[in-house]
Symmetry: C2
Subunit: 357 residues, 2 copies
């Protein structure tokens, strides 16, 4: 165990977040918007693990779609994060190719480097507790485990995958017995009662060498494709731009399917910090500050005789009268009106309104 | 009685319709929008009484705010109405100055001309029945009565003023006993039961000479001011542009207060045609075609699992899920969400969102 081992945050910023239409679009996905406070979700993710906050974190590696490179650069600068690497994908290929390439990139400088994979669109109100949890996983990662953070469930959520924890590895980590898909309500209640099921938040901690070995065992084709794509990229300053010809040949698959569900050396650190994936407007209302009428108002929004609403006005004024429990989102791209408890269904109308999205 | 007497439609187009925000604005009020069908309210008003439809109508006189002159010209041309006069007011002064000036303008060519005053923002689904009703008022107008059309009430409406009809003048017209302000519910029910109360729709028929005589009797200051303003206007082609210096001195007052409630020679023709003043989004929903779910959808609007809504999308797409009985209006100027039965309250939030409106 090297005390000097740095954690390299790898920020995955490839999602498109269509359930947050009309704010989130393929042109400017949700992670680049100010949803809750003055920083975007992407900036919050970077700042939570910045070297200025804790010297054990190295400069970040950001992986994003090429069309969002300008947002990434602009928002990193705005957050005073001036070091690190930006890897751009010419097209989306899910998480496994991105993680393979980040591992290859880290290995080039230090095969023992520990990578911390973070989605860029989560809300974590207590960043210190979050960081403490990460450090709880280091020991297992240094023993060549691929470590996931497992959020202790606060309810029988049906919107998340679950991790079934097995035998203890150390004071903080346990081996993973199995990963399970999003359950139905009854199954989720069973998981909650059992006590050894945790939410899969898509946050991982591992040595570059451990991930590359696991890829070699369980997805050798993918590893080979990623090696070709990474070798073909010509790094320029802080930029690594993956070329379309090679990268588009990578198999599109999530890291869960490609590696986590197959490898034996997978561990989980149960964590207790408050967390939301901000996957729907309903969850954004839950995470947002609210006024005396329990309304969360963003931008030029006026609510008269209205309660329990999220009114999100970006670039266009919104007025509501006499409504309750609604989400109203307006941007120059479009307008959404839906009850707060049905915001998971947004994709339906996005497909109808924007057939080519 | 001269058979050759023409009716000169005078289209009053000065309203601003803030209850129809965000579509209707002071820049482009409701009468210039396509609310129900392919013609704007202003075009429908002109076409209903065009000389092409019935030779007894002469070319129209349109009175509008100077800032809307371009809309008027453009929409008249679009409706193939190429003759007539456009009088522009440099500032709003309510209906009495406008009607005084229209009467002066008509008198200049023919003092016996019969003027038909029409607001430009009403929905009248059966134009032939409407025209028949107008002709029923001609005899009384030729006997120097100022004739109003009184809509037979279909319910105890509290949003309209009422006209109490008195003794019969001829087969169609009766003398007016009195005008009454918008009543409360109980009073309106009494009017409905009494049977001799009619809605005041702001539509009048009179000889120019009769109106000018009434103005001389009941509002001599106003008549004098209007004469000065009209004399100062320099007609140019079909345009009469009232100059600010003189017109702004006209007293701002409605024709009801200035003349109708005071003059003795006021008659009413009870009429039965379907009519709505389209004063609120609720009334627009009532007048609009609807789909199988009883939704009225305008523009790029998509409704999923939703019933009894008006979704009006102009220049921006709107998607709604799981809502009922709502009005959702979106334009690049703003977004409104309000239950259908509360659309009378829209002004509240317009004042809050646009304090300088």
């Amino acid at each position: 165990m090297t005390n000097a081992a740095q954690i390299i945050p790898v920020i995955l910023s490839g999602g498109s977040g269509t359930r947050l239409w009309p704010l989130s679009t393929t042109q400017k996905p949700k992670q680049f918007h100010r949803l809750i406070d003055d920083n975007t979700m992407f900036q919050q993710t970077c700042l939570r693990v910045s070297p200025q906050v804790d010297g054990r974190f190295g400069s970040p590696v950001v992986i994003c779609n090429a069309r969002h490179e300008d947002y990434v650069i602009e928002q990193l600068e705005e957050a005073s994060i001036t070091t690190g690497t930006v890897i751009t994908e010419p097209t989306g290929r899910n998480s496994a190719p991105a993680i393979a390439i980040a591992s290859l990139h880290a290995q080039a400088t230090d095969p023992e480097a520990i990578l911390l994979i973070l989605p860029s669109d989560h809300a974590i109100p207590d960043p210190q507790q979050f960081r403490d949890s990460i450090f709880h996983g280091i020991a297992a990662a240094q023993r060549d485990f691929i470590v996931t953070l497992g959020i202790r469930p606060t309810g029988p959520e049906t919107g998340y995958g679950y991790i079934n924890a097995g035998e203890r590895l150390d004071a903080h980590a346990a081996k993973v017995k199995r990963f399970v898909e999003k359950p139905d309500r009854e199954t989720a209640e069973g998981y909650l009662a059992a006590g050894d099921y945790l939410w899969n938040a898509g946050m991982f901690l591992f040595k570059a060498s451990a991930m590359l070995a696991a890829l070699k065992d369980h997805a050798p084709d993918l590893l080979a494709q990623a090696q070709v794509a990474y070798a073909a990229a010509k790094p320029k300053g802080r930029h690594v731009r993956l070329p379309l010809d090679q990268f588009s040949k990578c198999r599109s698959i999530s890291i869960d399917y490609a590696v986590m569900e197959k490898a034996a050396n997978v561990a989980v650190v149960p964590v207790d910090f408050a967390w939301s994936d901000l996957g729907s407007w309903g969850s954004i209302w839950e995470q947002s500050p609210r006024d005396g009428e329990n309304n969360s108002l963003h931008g030029a929004a006026v609510a008269s005789d209205s309660r329990n609403n999220l009114i999100f006005a970006e670039g266009i004024p919104v007025g509501v009268i006499g409504v309750e429990g609604l989400v109203v989102v307006a941007t120059p791209n479009g307008v959404l009106v839906v009850p707060r408890d049905r915001t998971e269904e947004v994709r339906k109308i996005v497909d109808a309104l924007l057939p080519n999205n």
